[in-house]
C-alpha cells in the first residue's frame, strides 16, 4: 500500500516534470511570428530578411524541418544532457549563466525560509498560547494582511524607509562594487549587509502562512487529552509547551514549507528586482527585457525543477518523520491548497 502510494506520487511528479518540459518545448513553436525574425535581433536593430535559400539552410540547421515528434525527442535528450541552449544576448551557454546566478537566489531563498520559520513558529505559538486575547487577535490580523501584500510592495516599503530614508542598508546589489576587503570576514559582512533587506522582505511575506499553520495546529493540540494528562502529571509548563505540544505541531510544517516553495520562488523573483539582487529573478527580468527566449526558458526550467524537487523531498521526509501517514495521503493530511487556512493533521 505504502509503496504503491509512493510510486503514485513519483509518477505524478514525473508527469508534472514532463508537462513543464513539454510547455518549454511547445511555447516557441506556438508563438506567433517567424523565428528567423528574432535570430539577428537586439531590440531596435534593423532586421534583415532572409532569402529562401538561407531560410532553408537554417531550417535544416536547426532541425526545424523534421517531424515534431523527432524534434521533441531531440529536445528531451538535449535537456537530459544539461544542454539548455545558447543565450543570444549574453553569447554564452544558458546553463553557464544560470550556474553563475543561481547561488544568489539559493542563498536568498534559504535564508528567507529559515527566517520565516523562526518568525512563524515564534509568533504562531505565542498566538496559540494567548488564544482569544487581544495579542492573538492583533497578530492574526496583521498576519492576514501581510500574507496578502505582494513581496514587491513590502520590499519597496522597506527600501524606501530603511535604505532610501535613513540609509541603514544599501539600495541595490549583492556586494559593494570594486570593494577591496581586508579579510574574508569583511566580505561576508558586506554580503550579509546587502542580503539583509531582500531576505527580510521575502521572509516577511512567507511568515504568515507558517504562522497560521502553527497557530491552528497548536490550537487543536492544546485541546487534546494528552495535554491534560501532561498537566495532571505536574510537568513543568515549558516542558508541556515545547516537548509535548510544539513538537507535534511542527510536523505539518515540513510539507507547508515545501508547498510554499513555489510562492517563495515567485516572491524571490520580485524581491530580487526590487533590490536589484543579481540572482535568477533579476536575470529573468533582464531576459524578458531583451527577449532572450532560450535564457528565459532555461531559468524557468531550473526554477520549476527546484520547486518540484523540494516538494518531492518533503513528501519523502514527511513519510519518514510521521509513521501515521505511511498509509494516508500526505497532501490531504495537510489540507493543502485551502487558502492557507490549513486544517492541522488531526489523524
Amino acid at each position: 500500500m505504502s509503496l504503491q502510494k509512493t510510486s503514485l506520487r513519483s509518477l505524478e511528479y514525473l508527469l508534472t516534470f514532463l508537462l513543464i518540459i513539454t510547455l518549454n518545448f511547445a511555447l516557441p513553436r506556438l508563438m506567433p511570428g517567424d523565428p528567423f525574425l528574432h535570430l539577428s535581433g537586439e531590440a531596435g536593430e534593423i532586421v534583415e530578411g532572409y532569402t529562401d535559400q538561407q531560410r532553408k539552410y537554417f531550417l535544416e540547421y536547426y532541425g526545424l524541418n523534421r517531424p515534431v515528434t523527432e524534434q521533441y525527442w531531440r529536445y528531451l535528450s538535449e535537456v537530459a544532457r544539461g544542454n539548455l541552449g545558447f543565450s543570444y544576448y549574453y553569447k554564452e551557454p544558458v546553463l553557464v549563466i544560470i550556474a553563475r546566478r543561481l547561488p544568489w537566489t539559493l542563498f536568498l531563498v534559504a535564508t528567507a525560509t529559515v527566517l520565516s520559520l523562526i518568525f512563524g513558529i515564534l509568533l504562531g505559538s505565542y498566538s496559540a498560547w494567548r488564544r482569544g486575547y487581544w495579542q492573538d487577535k492583533m497578530l492574526y490580523l496583521i498576519m492576514v494582511v501581510f500574507g496578502e501584500i505582494p513581496a514587491f510592495l513590502i520590499g519597496l516599503a522597506l527600501l524606501i524607509l530603511l535604505a532610501a530614508g535613513i540609509g541603514l542598508f544599501p539600495l541595490a546589489g549583492a556586494i559593494t562594487h570594486f570593494a577591496r576587503y581586508t579579510s574574508s570576514w569583511d566580505r561576508i559582512k558586506d554580503i550579509l549587509h546587502h542580503a539583509a533587506l531582500p531576505a527580510l522582505t521575502l521572509s516577511l511575506t512567507r511568515t504568515s502562512g507558517i504562522y497560521l499553520l502553527v497557530r491552528n495546529s497548536l490550537g487543536t493540540i492544546l485541546a487534546r487529552d494528552y495535554m491534560r494528562t501532561a498537566r495532571a502529571k505536574g510537568l513543568a509548563e515549558p516542558r508541556i509547551r515545547y516537548r509535548h505540544a510544539l513538537r507535534n505541531a511542527l510536523l505539518p510544517l515540513v510539507t507547508r514549507v515545501a508547498l510554499q516553495m513555489g510562492a517563495m520562488v515567485g516572491g524571490a523573483v520580485l524581491v530580487e528586482n526590487v533590490f536589484v539582487y543579481p540572482g535568477l529573478g533579476r536575470l529573468m527580468r533582464d531576459a524578458v527585457l531583451v527577449r532572450d527566449y532560450p535564457l528565459l526558458q532555461g531559468i524557468f526550467l531550473v526554477l520549476a525543477i527546484s520547486v518540484m524537487g523540494t516538494n518531492y523531498l518533503a513528501d519523502l521526509l514527511y513519510r519518514y518523520l510521521d509513521p501515521r501517514t505511511r498509509t494516508t495521503d500526505v497532501m490531504n493530511a495537510c489540507g493543502r491548497g485551502t487558502y492557507g487556512k490549513t486544517e492541522p493533521s488531526g489523524l
Partner: protein
C-alpha cells in the same frame, strides 16, 4: 443562514444587511474602502481634470494645487493615472475571479458529484497546479503570448481555478451525503436539477468568498507582472506606474519617489489588504467551522 433569492429585491437587500451586520470592524472598513475604490474607477473621468495618458504639465512636479498628486517624468498627472489605473486592477480582479471562480466551482461540484475518473483526473490536475511555481510560469507565458490585458486575465484564470475547485469539491462531497440530496436523487432528480436547485445555491456563498480571494490574488499578480515590466503597456495599471518609477535612474537619490512611488504604493496596498480582510471576514460567515 438565509439563501439569496435571485428574484426578490427585498430579499437581496435583507441579505446584504445581514452580511453587513455579521462583518467585523475591519471587514466593514475594508468594504467601505473597496466601495470607494470602485467608485473612483467608475467615475474616473469626472474625478480628474487632467488626461491620464498624455502629458499635462511639467515633469516631476510635486503634489500641489495644479496636480493633486504631482506628475511623473513625462508630466502625466499622477492622480489621473491612479484613477484610471484602478479600472485596470479592478477589471483584472473581477474577470479573473468570475472565470476562475465559476469555472473552478463548477468543476469541483461535478467532480464531487460524479466521482470516479472525472474526480481523479481533476484532483491530479489540481495537484500539479499546486506544485507549479505560478509567477515564473506566468512570466514565460506573458512573454511568449504577449501581455495584453485579456491575455493576462486568461493566464491568471488558468492558474487560479484550482483553489476554488478544491475547496468547492470538498464541500460538495460533504453535501452529497446529506439526506435531502440523496432523497432528491432517489426521486429521480437529474444532475442538472441537483446542480441548480441544491448544489449551486448551497455552495454559492462559498464561491463568492473564494471569488473575493481570487480577485485579490489576481490583482496582486497583475501588479507583480506589471512591476516586472510585463503589464499591458497600453493600460496604465498601478503596477506599471511603480515599474516606471523604479526604472527611473537614481530615483532614490531624488525626492521624486515621495509621490511617484508612494501614492501608487498606498493605493495598491489599500486595495489588496482590504480585499484580504473582507475575504477573511466573509469566509468566517460562509463557513462557520473556520475558527476565528
Amino acid at each position: 443562514m438565509e439563501k439569496p433569492s435571485l428574484l426578490g429585491c427585498n430579499a437581496v437587500i435583507r441579505y446584504i444587511k445581514g452580511v453587513w451586520g455579521q462583518l467585523g470592524l475591519f471587514g466593514k472598513i475594508s468594504l467601505i474602502i473597496l466601495l470607494n475604490l470602485v467608485l473612483m474607477a467608475v467615475f474616473a473621468p469626472y474625478l480628474t481634470r487632467h488626461p491620464h495618458h498624455v502629458s499635462s504639465g511639467p515633469p516631476l512636479v510635486p503634489p500641489g494645487a495644479g496636480h493633486l498628486l504631482g506628475t511623473d517624468d513625462l508630466g502625466v498627472d499622477l492622480w489621473s493615472m491612479i484613477c484610471f489605473g484602478a479600472r485596470v486592477s479592478l477589471m483584472v480582479g473581477l474577470f479573473t475571479a468570475l472565470l476562475a471562480g465559476l469555472g473552478g466551482g463548477i468543476a469541483g461540484i461535478i467532480a464531487a458529484y460524479r466521482g470516479g475518473w472525472p474526480d481523479r483526473v481533476l484532483m491530479r490536475i489540481v495537484d500539479i497546479m499546486v506544485v507549479l511555481p505560478d509567477l515564473p510560469v506566468m512570466i514565460v507565458l506573458a512573454v511568449f503570448f504577449g501581455s495584453s490585458l485579456h491575455n493576462i486575465i486568461i493566464v491568471l484564470a488558468l492558474f487560479s481555478w484550482s483553489m476554488p475547485a478544491r475547496l468547492i469539491r470538498s464541500q460538495a462531497l460533504a453535501l452529497k451525503e446529506q439526506a435531502y440530496i440523496k432523497i432528491a436523487a432517489h426521486y429521480g432528480a437529474g444532475m442538472g436539477h441537483l446542480f441548480f436547485r441544491h448544489f449551486l445555491p448551497e455552495l454559492f456563498p462559498l464561491m463568492m468568498v473564494s471569488m473575493i480571494r481570487l480577485a485579490g490574488m489576481a490583482i496582486v499578480t497583475e501588479a507583480s507582472l506589471s512591476f516586472l515590466g510585463l503589464g499591458d503597456p497600453t493600460s496604465r495599471s498601478w503596477g506599471l506606474i511603480i515599474n516606471h518609477a523604479v526604472s527611473f535612474r537614481g530615483i532614490y537619490f531624488t525626492p521624486f519617489w515621495k509621490w511617484w512611488l508612494v501614492y501608487p504604493w498606498i493605493f495598491l496596498t489599500l486595495l489588496v489588504s482590504s480585499l484580504a480582510l473582507l475575504g477573511r471576514d466573509l469566509e468566517g460567515i460562509a463557513d462557520p467551522r473556520i475558527m476565528k
